[in-house]
Structure formats: structure tokens, C-alpha cells
């Protein structure tokens, strides 16, 4: 932990004039940069393609070619261009690319990063990792072997990943005597497939990577082809248009207050996905719908900024101060807002070792938000390689592509991916792993997961002969969950126990449920060290439902809380059976029934008195209706 002195000095440094060397900006390479991924079926020649491209464009480091040639000689095997990329031992021994590798080279137009994606189905997740970083793709098909399963699957993945610029290279033309008809047949077959997924490549180029034909210059071996070499087509790919013109979207990645700083800034940090924002702009946080105004744009070693646009990792201070958790999405007032809710339809690819199934809890990450999510419905599952549809399938297997409806526990903010791509896509986590990715196609109006659960529970409930009113009358109390919320270390537990004792002595049937009492018992199936807050809230809600159903007053404590969690609890309880008492400095974080702040110098007895009055008031209400 830094001490005050340290941080002050850092701030002094921040306050200095930014030390940017404007005069020497000319030194910085202004050539644009483009990521291009190479995909295709295993052994169709991707690595050879890249190796040859690097060698022919003269962009290999001097030692590299000799080093690999020497290694081949030492192992008595013939040199291949593919070995240039296969720098890893186990990869060489298997002879296939297992992970994406990046190589750098430069044309007259721009700098390229060539991402080599593996063609083997087992490494689909690596292919996706590589391809998702790309702005354009080269899809390699072996002229001799023709269109294979992964030629199709990779084409489909590219379209899901949002890559629209594709150059299809029909490779190993030397093995088919540079035959024009053979090339045309493959073009026809593959285009028929692409038509079905509404994808049109930029070009089909016949090449021989091994011979260097049609890579960086037109080849004499195939005089019948006049369509331009691969490098020419690469240079024709366009950079993505600026996202500044789209509505403003800023996922709140974190909220910083480095208080040890003497630094009083509370900064909302994140990266602008789309749009621009200026000092003084009015903003709205979604899904909480809270509103504020930008008061400053923050940065380090930067001149003061009055506005900032898409792509920048930046930060803001706002006014008024709001209690916002990381994960909310900031939109600009007056622009089309993002959508928010708990149900949406999506196209999804699944990479998980276990299939995607219903009634299993998953985690979704979208923008900076993380939430508990369930698969609600499978509309259909598509076999990505054959493009056949199975609508009766009850689960989504590894490497399947499917259209599904998902349901989150709490509302999340999102866009339809055809409107705004980056806030319209998400990943699903299963058992700590990224197991799938999806793009949202539409919102679905529906009840939330817990509303469904509570409804289902009501339906299944076996009612006894004693009614809630009978119990209330006999026990002379209104069953309630009293939840002491607020920041950590504000004496909530002591107060809760004191409250239990006070209510007990006044004749109430009351029980204090501590957090450790849950951890060791009801929640002992959750491994130590795993924090699953949504699940904790759900279990607390269900336990409270049982206690209140039995007529009891239950007291528990929880650190922090948000509006959605309160809604979750109310859904599981019977709406009004909840009293929330805030302990600590209340800043309108969420609606509460009472506030207890030590800062007010209030004696514990007085605090207890306040809560007991709330309990009595609730009872008076109930008596009125009974």
C-alpha cells in the first residue's frame, strides 16, 4: 500500500505539463496496420503460405531463414517454409499448427500482422482467437483435396465473428498442373456454400504457396488467371471505418478512487466502444437508468481533453456522484440508448468441453458486465460444416452453432449486434472457461429467471392447513426479513445480534442467520474461494422465504447490495416482507427503509428502537388487512 507522501508526489508529476514530444512525431511510423488471419482446413498449406510470403517480401529477420535451414539440416529433413513459423518443439513433431502465431510484414501500403490459425477441428478455439483479432481473412483451400469440412466451418465462423473481407486462395495449384477447370470447380462449390450464409469473398486467387505463384506477383504458371495476386488483394482490404459516428457506448470497466492519493478523483474507467463524448455531456447508466453529467475527461501525461472518441481507453469524473458498480454501460442522453433486460435471442458458437444445456447456471460477459445466465430455449442447432439444421436438439454440442434464447438473472445492457457490433456480442463462461460466443439478434420480452422460479415454486408448493394469517395472528407478528446492508466493517453483525435479542425479549419469534452459518451448511457445495454472489442472494432469498412462511422474523446482514439484488429478494419473498436497513454513510445507493450511521453519533439502543418501530409498523399494516 502506498503512503500519502508517495501518492502526492505522483500527483505532482501528473500535474506537470505532459511530456509529449510533438516535434519528433514525424519519426513515428504512420503506416497503418492490419491484422489478417489465415484459416482453412488442416494441411491445406497455411503455414507454408505465410513462410513463403515472409521470405518473398524480404521481411524475415536475417538470422531466421538460416537458423531454420540449419535446424532442418541437423535433423536431416528437407527444408519447408512452414518450419519458419513452427518455432515450437512439440508443434514441429506433430507437424500441425496448434495455436495462432503472429508474423509481421510490410507492404508498400501498410504493416501487416499475419495470424496463422490452426486448421484442425480440435483447435477451433485457437482458430477463433486468431480470427477474432483480424480485420480481413485469407481462407486457404487445397486444390488437390478440394473443399473440406473446416473450409466450410471456418467460413461460417468468420461470418459470425464479423469478418467481412475474405480472400479465398486455392492453394497447391502446382499439384493439379495449374489447371483452370479444377480451380473453377472449387470456386463454384465454395461459392454455393458461401451464398447460403450470405457471404461474398473479395476474390478467389489460384496460388502455389510452395512455388510462390500468385503470392506477391502474378504467376507465369497460370497465364489464364488475370485477377491479381494475393498481396494486391490484401492491400485492397479496407480498414474498419471510424466508430465515432455511432451512438456513444462506454462499458464501465472499473471505478477508481485511489484514496491513499490525497487524490479525490473518482474515475469511471473504460474504453469507448463507439461514439464520442465531451465535457459537460449528459449521460445515462444502463441498466440502472441513473443520470449524471461528465465533469472531466481524465488521463495521464495527456493535455487536457474536452472530448474523446471511440477506441480510447480513458476515464471520466461525473456529477452528481452516483453509486455505480463496474459493468454498467454509459450512453449519451439524446442518442439512441442501448437496450436492457433479461431475455434476448442470439446466434452462438459453442467451444465448451461440456454441451450447453438448459437449467444450468452459466456466466455471461458482455461489455464490462458479468451476470448469471441460463439457456432458456434452443431455437435450432446448425451443423456448421454441413449447414444442416436440427431443431429438435435439446443441447448444443462442442463446435455446434445454434440460435438460442438466453435469460439472465439480473438485467444487462446490450445492443442488437447489427446496430452496434461491439456491445451486441458476448461470451459464456462454463466452469471457469470461455465456452461460447454469441451475437445478439433481438430482444425477447419475458419474465426474469427468478420470477419464473418463484412462479414455478408457487405452483408446486404443498400448502398446509394453516394459513399465513393464522400464523400471524397466533405469533402476533408479521413475518419479515430484516436485512442490514451497507459497506463492510460497519458493525452490522453486532447490530444484527443486538436486534435479535431486543426483538426476542419483546416477545417476537425471531432468528439471526449469519453469513458463516450459510457458508458452512446450505452453501457448503460452493467451493472455498469461489464468490458467487447471485447464488448467495438466491439462497438467502429462498431461506428467508421458508422462515417467513413459517411466520418468523429473520435477521441477516449483507455487504453492499444493489437495486437488482433487492428485486431478486423481493421476487423470492412475498414482495413486502422485506425491511432494508442501511448501515454506514448513505449516498442513495439503493432504496432503504432506514439508515443507521455511526457518524450521526446515534446510540445502538436508538438504532434498534428505529428498526423495532419499522417492525411494529409492518405489523400494524398487516393487522389492518387481516
Amino acid at each position: 500500500m502506498l503512503d500519502n507522501k508517495i501518492v502526492q508526489s505522483q500527483l505532482e508529476y501528473t500535474d506537470q505539463q505532459p511530456e509529449i514530444n510533438a516535434k519528433n512525431e514525424s519519426l513515428i511510423d504512420t503506416l497503418e496496420r492490419m491484422n489478417i488471419v489465415i484459416v482453412g482446413h488442416v494441411d491445406h498449406g497455411k503455414s507454408t503460405f505465410i513462410g513463403r510470403l515472409l521470405a518473398d517480401t524480404g521481411t524475415l529477420p536475417k538470422g531466421k531463414l538460416d537458423q531454420v535451414k540449419a535446424m532442418c539440416a541437423a535433423n536431416a529433413k528437407p527444408f519447408e517454409y512452414a518450419f519458419l513459423l513452427d518455432a515450437l518443439k512439440d508443434e514441429q513433431s506433430q507437424g500441425i499448427t496448434i495455436d495462432t502465431a503472429r508474423s509481421f510484414f510490410k507492404s508498400e501500403k501498410r504493416n501487416y500482422i499475419i495470424i496463422d490459425a490452426p486448421g484442425h477441428i480440435e483447435f477451433l478455439k485457437n482458430m477463433i482467437t486468431g480470427a477474432a483479432r483480424a480485420e480481413a481473412a485469407i481462407l486457404v483451400i487445397d486444390a488437390h483435396e478440394g473443399v473440406q469440412e473446416n473450409s466450410r466451418r471456418h467460413g461460417y465462423m468468420l461470418s459470425l465473428l464479423g469478418i467481412r473481407q475474405i480472400i479465398v486462395c486455392v492453394n497447391k495449384m502446382d499439384l493439379v498442373d495449374n489447371n483452370k477447370e479444377k480451380f473453377n470447380a472449387i470456386v463454384k462449390e465454395y461459392q454455393e456454400f458461401l451464398d447460403e450464409i450470405k457471404l461474398t469473398p473479395l476474390a478467389y486467387v489460384p496460388i502455389s504457396a510452395r512455388e510462390g505463384d500468385n503470392l506477391i506477383a502474378p504467376s507465369e504458371s497460370m497465364p489464364w488467371y488475370k485477377g491479381g495476386d494475393v498481396l494486391t488483394w490484401m492491400d485492397k482490404c479496407e480498414k474498419q471505418a471510424s466508430k465515432d459516428k455511432q451512438p456513444f457506448r462506454f462499458p464501465v470497466q472499473d471505478v477508481y478512487k485511489f484514496t491513499e492519493a490525497g487524490d479525490d478523483r473518482r474515475v469511471f474507467a473504460g474504453t469507448i466502444e463507439t461514439g464520442t463524448i465531451s465535457d459537460g455531456d449528459e449521460i445515462v447508466f444502463l441498466p440502472s437508468n441513473k443520470e449524471a453529467k461528465i465533469t472531466s475527461i481524465e488521463g495521464f501525461n495527456l493535455p487536457k481533453q474536452s472530448s474523446v472518441g471511440a477506441g480510447y481507453a480513458t476515464g471520466f469524473t461525473i456529477s452528481p456522484q452516483l453509486y455505480i458498480k463496474p459493468g454498467e454501460l454509459i450512453c449519451k442522453k439524446g442518442e439512441t440508448p442501448a437496450k436492457y433486460g433479461t431475455n434476448f435471442k442470439a446466434n452462438l458458437f459453442w467451444l465448451g468441453k461440456k454441451p450447453l444445456v438448459q437449467n444450468k447456471k452459466y456466466k455471461i460477459k458482455i461489455g464490462a458486465a458479468r451476470a448469471t445466465v441460463y439457456l432458456k430455449e434452443i431455437i435450432h442447432v446448425l451443423d456448421a460444416s454441413a449447414l444442416t439444421t436440427e431443431s429438435s436438439k435439446s443441447h448444443v454440442d462442442r463446435h455446434d452453432v445454434a440460435e438460442c434464447v438466453f435469460q439472465t438473472l439480473k438485467p444487462i445492457a446490450y445492443d442488437i449486434s447489427s446496430d452496434i457490433e461491439s456491445t451486441g456480442r458476448f461470451v459464456i463462461i462454463d466452469d471457469y472457461e470461455i465456452a461460447g460466443g454469441g451475437i445478439i439478434s433481438e430482444s425477447v420480452d419475458s419474465t426474469s429467471r427468478l420470477e419464473d422460479v418463484a412462479h414455478q415454486r408457487q405452483f408446486l408448493w404443498e400448502k398446509s392447513e394453516i394459513t399465513a394469517a393464522d400464523r400471524s395472528r397466533q405469533m402476533e407478528q408479521t413475518p419479515t426479513l430484516i436485512l442490514l446492508a451497507g459497506p463492510r466493517d460497519t458493525g452490522k453483525i453486532e447490530l444484527a445480534k443486538f436486534l435479535e435479542e431486543s426483538l426476542f425479549k419483546s416477545g417476537k419469534k425471531v432468528y439471526y442467520l449469519g453469513l458463516p452459518n450459510m457458508v458452512g451448511g446450505v452453501s457448503s457445495d460452493i467451493p472455498e474461494g469461489v464468490e458467487d454472489r447471485d447464488e448467495h442472494i438466491r439462497r438467502l432469498g429462498e431461506l428467508a422465504h421458508l422462515f417467513t412462511n413459517a411466520g418468523m422474523i429473520l435477521i441477516s446482514t449483507i455487504s453492499d447490495l444493489d437495486t437488482y439484488e433487492i428485486k431478486m429478494l423481493k421476487t423470492l419473498l412475498d414482495g413486502d416482507q422485506l425491511i432494508i436497513v442501511y448501515c454506514g454513510e448513505y449516498k442513495n445507493q439503493f432504496p432503504v427503509d432506514s439508515i443507521i450511521s455511526k457518524a450521526d453519533g446515534e446510540e445502538p439502543e436508538a438504532s434498534i428502537q428505529k428498526i423495532m418501530e419499522l417492525v411494529e409498523a409492518k405489523q400494524a399494516d398487516t393487522n389492518y388487512y387481516l
Partner: protein, 293 residues
């Protein structure tokens, strides 16, 4: 946005993502240009603060000027600095300069071994105490489970296969074939308790980008990278017995950029001066599996 701004934004995003998701994090600072750029990016990401400790492995064979430079910046920026060392190997002279082991074994002893035990906290850590202006034994023995490292994909074959977030299992093994997918700026940030993690915010940077950024931001860099009259400079910094200087008359950052872009180094790999890379076909790969950075 130009390319430098883009890679800067991406690195900041990754640093913030790490800070949000992981406890017990540290950043390795080798004193070289890459990890110094990384340190600068952390100050960018956290608006002037560096909210985690910096860790340096002192092999005792570092060029003395490197240590001087490190401690100067620690004082100037008031950094939370920690270093560790393989005292046993040094005491028993199990090093290459002592002539008792080969270069690879020396790296294993003084770097990977020291790193492993410094990160886990079972060997003594020394933390810079800004009150006494010196290193004192660090009372914090908690293992660092998330380690931010300044490796770049263009450095060398094995590094081009890294992920931004790269889990190592309990033996620190790196399973190159079974790495988590990363797409749409969503990374694997969920781990079963006990997993160790390497975070690589500079993966997309090239050697040239590093120098361009140093130039643009005016980041203070150790003078060892510049020629100081002898027609020689270091291109890559390491231990002096194994790191050769290169012939160059570049005396400033702009001259280095020029030299890298169009001059004599345009086509020569950066680590060509590192002797340990040459001892077996995949020397660095072997070391990386053992946790070498």
C-alpha cells in the same frame, strides 16, 4: 487513432481488466525498455498511480547501471518496488560466470528459480522502504498469483503463441496446445482457486513500437541503450556475462528508431545478442516452460 494509440489503448484495457479481476498481482520490471514502457502504461491506466508492486529478479550479474537506474525511478516515482534473488546458487557459485554450470542452467538458477520462489513468497523479498530510502525485508509473504509481464509476440517464436491472459498450472507449466480462447476483448478471467496467471499487455507491440512510444511519451530509459562514445550500445539488456552490445553509434531515441526502421538492424533479430538462446534449438522455449520471462 494511429497504431501507437491503438496498441496503447489495448494494453491499458488489459491492465485494467487484470486489476479488476485479480488479487495479489504484481508486475515484473526487468529494467529494460519493454517493461519500462509497461510501467508507464500502468501509470496511464491508473491515472498516475501504480496500484501493485513491481518485482525485479536480481541475478547479481546485472549491469550495475541498471540497478542504479531502477532505484532512481523507484525514488522519483515512489514505486512499490520488490526484488528477489537466488542466494543459495550465488553462495554455492552455481552460475555460468563461476564456470560451474552452462548458460541455460545458470538462467534456470538465477532467473526462473529465483522468480518462482520470489513470486510464491517462500524466499525473502526485499521491498524498497521510502522512509529509510533502502531495501528492507518484505513482511508480505503472500504468493503473487497474477504476474504482469512485458513480453512481445515479435521477440521470438515461443512468445508469438502467448495469450494476453495465460494460465500456468501449479507446477507453472505452460500448456501451449490447450490455451483459453480470447476474442472480442473478452479474456479468461475466471479461474479455479490456486491458478497462477501471466498477463501480457504488450503482446501486440514490436521493438520499433516500443521505441516510438518511448519517443512520443518521453519515457526515461537507461542510458545503456545508447552509444556513449565507444561505437557500441545494448539492444537488449540482461546479465553482462551473456549479453553482448551491438555496434551502433545511435546516441538518442530518434537515432535508434531510424536504425531499426531502415538501418542496419532492420532485419536482425533483437535477441541475437543473447547467448542463452543459442545453446539448444528451443532454449528459450525450455526456459519459458520453467517460468522464464
Amino acid at each position: 487513432m494511429d497504431n501507437l494509440e491503438k496498441i496503447e489503448a489495448q494494453s491499458i484495457y488489459i491492465l485494467r481488466e487484470s486489476y479488476r479481476e485479480f488479487k495479489n498481482m504484481c508486475m515484473l520490471w526487468s529494467i529494460g525498455k519493454d517493461s519500462t514502457v509497461l510501467l508507464w502504461l500502468a501509470r496511464k491506466a491508473f491515472f498516475g498511480h501504480v496500484p501493485f508492486p513491481l518485482v525485479h529478479i536480481d541475478t547479481s550479474y546485472k549491469i550495475p547501471e541498471m540497478i542504479q537506474y531502477r532505484d532512481d525511478l523507484v525514488k522519483k516515482w515512489k514505486l512499490n518496488m520488490v526484488y528477489g534473488q537466488n542466494k543459495e546458487a550465488l553462495a554455492n557459485k552455481q552460475t555460468y560466470p563461476d564456470g560451474n554450470v552452462d548458460r541455460i542452467q545458470c538462467c534456470k538458477n538465477l532467473k526462473s528459480g529465483a522468480l518462482k520462489h520470489t513470486l510464491s513468497g517462500d524466499w525473502t523479498r526485499y521491498r524498497f522502504d521510502h522512509d529509510v530510502q533502502d531495501y528492507v525485508e518484505d513482511s508480505n509473504k503472500e504468493p503473487y498469483t497474477g504476474v504482469i509481464v512485458g513480453v512481445r509476440a515479435d521477440e521470438e517464436g515461443s512468445r508469438s503463441k502467448e495469450r494476453y491472459f495465460s494460465p500456468r498450472d501449479k507446477e507453472n507449466d505452460w500448456d501451449v496446445g490447450d490455451q483459453p480462447p480470447e476474442f472480442w476483448n473478452q479474456f479468461k478471467t475466471d479461474f479455479s482457486p490456486g491458478t497462477h496467471l501471466r498477463i501480457h499487455p504488450l503482446l501486440d507491440w514490436t521493438e520499433l513500437n516500443i521505441w516510438e512510444y518511448i519517443q512520443r511519451e518521453n519515457i526515461p530509459i537507461t542510458g545503456l541503450y545508447f552509444d556513449r562514445g565507444k561505437g557500441q550500445r545494448y539492444r537488449s539488456l540482461g546479465c553482462y556475462p551473456c549479453t553482448g552490445s551491438v555496434e551502433s553509434t545511435s546516441t538518442s531515441v530518434p537515432e535508434i528508431i531510424e536504425e531499426l526502421r531502415s538501418g542496419k538492424f532492420a532485419n536482425i533479430a533483437e535477441r541475437s545478442g543473447r547467448a542463452q538462446d543459442k545453446e539448444d534449438g528451443g532454449g528459450l522455449e525450455t526456459l519459458r516452460r520453467e517460468g522464464y520471462m
